[in-house]
């Protein structure tokens, strides 16, 4: 415990103090008086500045207050406080235009104690009073602010408010940039990994299915396989189809070979063996030839003689038909030629008669035409022209007068002449035409006669023709007689030829069949089947071997199909495995990434948790501090002090700490009735203005007293405005108690003169070494501030005597 007492104060040009002021302070009680504006508050805040290096109440009002500290008229200023007692020292600060230049002050603990609990500036008192006016309970209520500032809870409040967003992850996302990103990344990876795990599981299941398929196939094929999905090559090797394919190729070849053999055999077997025994056909022909061949040959040469120009077919049947047709033709020709020769002869004689008539007619026409002038026509035309020129009876041609003749008129004469001339011309034309026709007929007849004369054969030829026709008809009759026999002969001959060809063919086929049988038998032996037995039907043998081969072929094809399936399965497994490997790789990568992200999140979460813990701790500490400060001890002390100053007031102010823990702990102001009973309302509602002032003052004193006596100083700046505000006598008694019984050095400033005088009396030294100092501040216009100090010492009272 440090019993520091103030010794003296030196102030130069500080705030409203002008010039230099020296104030002794080394007394139990220092009573300061001055009119308003004389510099009381400046003097007290000078003490605060010197001891703490700042002025808290001014700082609250204006953070840049420091530059306002110096007196307006000065260029520099200073404050200095000397202390006595333990660790006596001098504290102070110098001021410049810019603010506080240098300072030597208390250590922070003492400084804050001074500011919080030793010095009651008017501003703080005003604030205390305000607490009662406003009954709000929120964090911004004046009470909350007062408590916060008094207990320096603002830092804790800032921590609590600042860390509040950590409680809700949505706010954390808002505040921390990377948080959402991290969360999203984690969610994404979680989903991705889950999907991939499912995919991987599916693939592994699929591989299992394929493996069991391979196992089934292997057992079906009777292959020993080590079913290890990591030894696909070995499995593939074991299930190699090469051998079977080779076998299949062999079988295919064999089958093809068999097919070829089979075709040969079928071809060989297709021959009609009955053709071999057709001997009768030949005999019939022989018999027929014996009967008819001679006749046929004779007839043929006869006919060939008749028809020398014809080339007749060799086959008897067609020869007969052809010869018959030609003979008929030949006969007809001969007959018709003979008939025509007769007709031509008759015509010739008729034509010779006709031509005689035509000749005589031509002679007649010629003679008539000779009598007619051939110029008649032309003359008639000229004369008709001349007619137009005839005028009168004078001839225009000869100029003779026709009238002289006296046979009519000249015109009629000319006209008549023209008419005559014209009719002669017409007759000539007709004759000419008839002449031409007669001449044409004549010519025609002449040509006909010539032709007929040439065409008519001679008698001998006609006789030959008749003979030829008779011969031809005779040959026809003969031929018709044997035509059926010839046709039968022809048929028989054809049959004979066919029979011979069939025999030849059958013989060659039989040879092939035998060879085929041998081949078949050899083939059967080659494929390790039973050879074709003697007497076994070749077809049946072929079928037997064919079915044998087919069966084997089917078997191998089935095997191959199985192998193909198995190998497909191996292929699928291979691709599945590579997919699985890829997926595993990706999965591994994602899991690593997830781990990284999750670790980052864990770390961030850890920091978040730490923040939350700090906040919880802050809350606890804050609650602890409030509980510690606003406890029953404070309430008892406050009540004691309040009752001292307001003994008549039935309501007592008190703090209550709400029991509920749900929200931030905050003391609440209430009033209790002095005689117990239910709590009243807030002090603002229950107390008079004077008692509110009393409550504020006693609260400050309680807060000062409720903690250990770190700094035994109480500095009150005009705590009461007049005698009426507070029971001043009681206040004086209280101050005396604090000063004289509890060792506090009290500095109190008042502006009320009466109050000053009263306090000077009340606070007079009561025992040796007790002391009182009064300071009177005065300042005239344009004068430096003056400070008059007066020291009062102890004086033994002698006036009281027993009666």
């Amino acid at each position: 415990m440090t019993d520091i007492l103030l010794k003296e104060l030196d102030v130069t040009d500080f705030r409203s103090i002008r010039g230099h002021v020296h104030a002794p302070l080394d007394a139990q009680v220092v009573l300061i008086h001055g009119e308003n504006g004389a510099g009381k508050t400046s003097l007290l805040s000078a003490i605060e500045l010197a001891l703490t290096g700042g002025v808290q109440s001014l700082r609250r009002a204006d953070p840049g207050y420091a530059s306002q500290l110096m007196h307006r008229s000065a260029k520099q200023g200073s404050v200095s406080v000397a202390t006595i007692g333990k660790g006596a020292a001098t504290y102070g600060a110098t001021l410049s235009i810019d603010g506080i230049a240098t300072s030597t002050s208390f250590d922070p603990t003492l400084a804050s104690f001074f500011s919080e609990r030793s010095y009651l500036p008017q501003a703080l008192l005003g604030q205390l009073l305000q607490i009662y006016q406003d009954s709000g309970n929120g964090a911004d209520s004046p009470l909350a602010k007062f408590v916060g500032e008094l207990l320096r809870l603002d830092r804790l409040d800032a921590i609590e408010a600042g860390l509040k967003p950590l409680g809700d992850v949505r706010n954390v996302r808002k505040v921390v940039d990377g948080w959402s990103e991290n969360e999203l990344e984690k969610t994404r990876l979680d989903v991705l990994i889950k999907d991939q795990q499912v995919g991987l599981h599916d693939i592994i299941e699929n591989i299992g299915i394929q493996m069991s398929a391979i196992r089934d196939t292997a057992s079906a094929l009777g292959v020993e396989v080590e079913l290890d999905e990591r030894k696909l090559d070995a499995i593939e090797q074991a299930l190699s189809p090469a051998q079977d394919e080779l076998r299949l190729a062999v079988i295919t070849d064999r089958r093809r070979e068999l097919g070829s053999i089979r075709r040969d055999v079928v071809r060989a077997a297709g021959a009609d063996p009955s053709a071999l025994g057709h001997e009768p056909s030949s005999d019939a022909y022989e018999r027929w030839a014996a009967t008819y061949m001679e006749r046929y040959s004779a007839l043929r040469s006869r006919i060939e003689a008749i028809l020398p120009a014809m080339s007749l077919p060799g086959d008897m049947a067609s020869f007969a038909d052809e010869a018959l047709r030609h003979l008929a033709l030949h006969a007809d020709q001969a007959t018709s030629r003979a008939g025509k020769a007769g007709a031509d002869a008759a015509r010739l004689s008729a034509a010779e008669n006709e031509i005689d008539v035509a000749r005589s007619r031509l002679q007649a026409i010629g003679s008539e035409m000779g009598g007619i002038s051939t110029s008649a026509g032309g003359l008639a035309a000229i004369l008709s022209e001349v007619t137009a020129l005839v005028d009168g009876e004078i001839c225009p041609v000869c100029d003779r007068d026709y009238a002289e003749l006296n046979v009519g008129t000249l015109v009629e004469h000319v006209h008549g002449k023209v008419r005559r001339l014209s009719s002669s011309a017409q007759r000539l034309l007709d004759l000419g035409r008839t002449n031409t026709q007669a001449q044409a007929l004549f010519d025609t007849l002449e040509r006909e006669i010539a032709t007929l004369t040439n065409g008519i054969p001679d008698e001998r030829t006609l006789a030959d023709l008749d003979r030829a026709a008779v011969d031809a008809n005779a040959a026809r009759a003969d031929l018709s007689g044997i035509i059926d026999a010839l046709k039968e002969g022809s048929r028989l001959r054809a049959g004979q030829v066919a029979a011979q060809r069939a025999v030849t063919e059958a013989q060659s086929r039989s040879v092939a069949l035998t060879a085929g049988r041998q081949t078949m038998s050899d083939f059967a032996v080659a494929i390790a089947a039973a050879p074709v037995a003697e007497g076994e039907d070749l077809g049946a043998a072929v079928e037997r071997i064919q079915s044998l081969l087919d069966a084997e072929n089917r078997l191998i094809e089935e095997r191959l199909a199985l192998l193909r399936k198995a190998r497909e399965a191996i292929g699928i497994i291979g691709s599945l495995q590579s997919r699985a490997d890829r997926l595993s790789d990706e999965l591994g990568g994602h899991e690593t990434a997830l781990k990284v992200v999750a670790q980052a999140q864990q770390r961030a979460q850890k920091v978040r948790n730490q923040g939350t813990k700090i906040r919880e701790a802050v809350d606890a500490i804050r609650s602890g501090i409030i509980r510690k400060e606003f406890n029953e001890r404070l309430n008892r002390l406050w009540r004691d002090l309040f009752v001292r100053l307001a003994p008549g007031e039935p309501f007592i102010p008190a703090f209550r700490i709400p029991e509920s823990e749900t929200q931030r702990i905050q003391p609440r102001l209430v009033t209790d009735h002095r005689s117990g009973g239910a709590a009243g309302g807030t002090p603002g509602a229950m107390l008079s203005a004077g008692n509110l002032n009393t409550a504020a003052l006693t609260l400050f004193l309680s807060l000062h007293l409720s903690v250990p006596k770190t700094l035994p100083l109480l500095i009150l700046d005009d705590p009461v405005q007049s005698m009426d505000d507070v029971h001043i006598a009681h206040l004086a008694a209280l101050l005396r108690t604090l000063s004289k019984e509890h060792g506090r050095q009290i500095v109190i400033a008042v502006h009320d003169r009466q109050l000053f005088e009263y306090l000077r009396l009340e606070l007079s030294p009561a025992f040796p070494n007790d002391s009182l100092l009064t300071l009177e501040l005065a300042r005239g216009p344009n004068q430096d501030t003056r400070c008059l100090s007066q020291r009062f010492g102890f004086k033994e009272e002698t006036s009281l005597l027993a009666a």
């Binding site: 921590i159 954390v172 670790q599 770390r603 730490q610 500490i621 008694a733 009396l761 025992f767 009281l800």
Partner: protein, 203 residues
């Protein structure tokens, strides 16, 4: 001496608080003053002169306001005359006096004790009696328990989170707290961000 139990109780309480009975009547500046009771403090309260006035069954005109006032004012003047620094406290015990008793406050500290408060058990309630004269009684300051000395908020915080949160984080947060809650939020956000980012950069 009066036999009033109220006066007796007050006197007893004051005696216990270090006030000595003065013989009555006493003389001041040659004038004799008679009161039901008079006490004087010691040491720091050596200048306290307490006068007891029994307004209920008062002798010496105690039940008459005007006479009481006149007597007190006479005493006050006598003190002034002798330039005494005594401070007068008048305890009016009993019924409220008729007359202009309020003006007494100008010359002396006046305390009223109406009746002797009795609790439910019928025993005199000294606490309530003391309330009325509390200003005369010594102030007892209850001492805080030793374990309540926990140091500053930061010390407490570091102590509370010693094995839970590393000191650097606490210091960062506390430093940021000087600049308000937003600074705290920014500080913790950047701490979390650092925790998130650092590993990503490594990866």
């Amino acid at each position: 001496m009066t036999s009033s139990p109220l006066i007796a109780a007050i006197r007893q309480r004051l005696n216990e608080a270090g006030y000595d009975d003065l013989p009555t009547p006493f003389r001041m500046a040659g004038v004799e003053f008679q009161f039901t009771g008079a006490l004087r403090g010691r040491h720091g309260r050596a200048l306290d002169l307490v006068l007891l006035v029994d307004t209920t069954a008062g002798l010496f005109g105690d039940s008459d306001g005007a006479r009481v006032r006149a007597r007190i004012q006479a005493l006050s003047r006598a003190l002034d005359v002798t330039a005494s620094r005594y401070v007068l406290t008048v305890v009016l015990a009993g019924a409220t006096l008729p007359g202009d008793i309020d003006s007494l406050a100008d010359t002396a500290r006046v305390l009223h004790v109406d009746t002797l408060p009795v609790n439910k058990a019928g025993v005199p309630d000294l606490d309530r009696l003391e309330d009325c004269i509390r200003v005369l009684l010594p102030l007892s300051i209850p001492q805080p328990a030793a374990n309540e000395q926990d140091g500053t908020a930061q010390d407490q915080l570091e102590k509370a989170l010693k094995n839970v949160v590393d000191a650097a984080t606490i210091r960062t947060i506390m430093d940021a707290a000087e600049h308000g809650d937003e600074a705290v939020t920014t500080a913790i956000a950047s701490l979390i961000d650092m925790a998130l980012v650092s590993e990503q950069e490594k990866a």
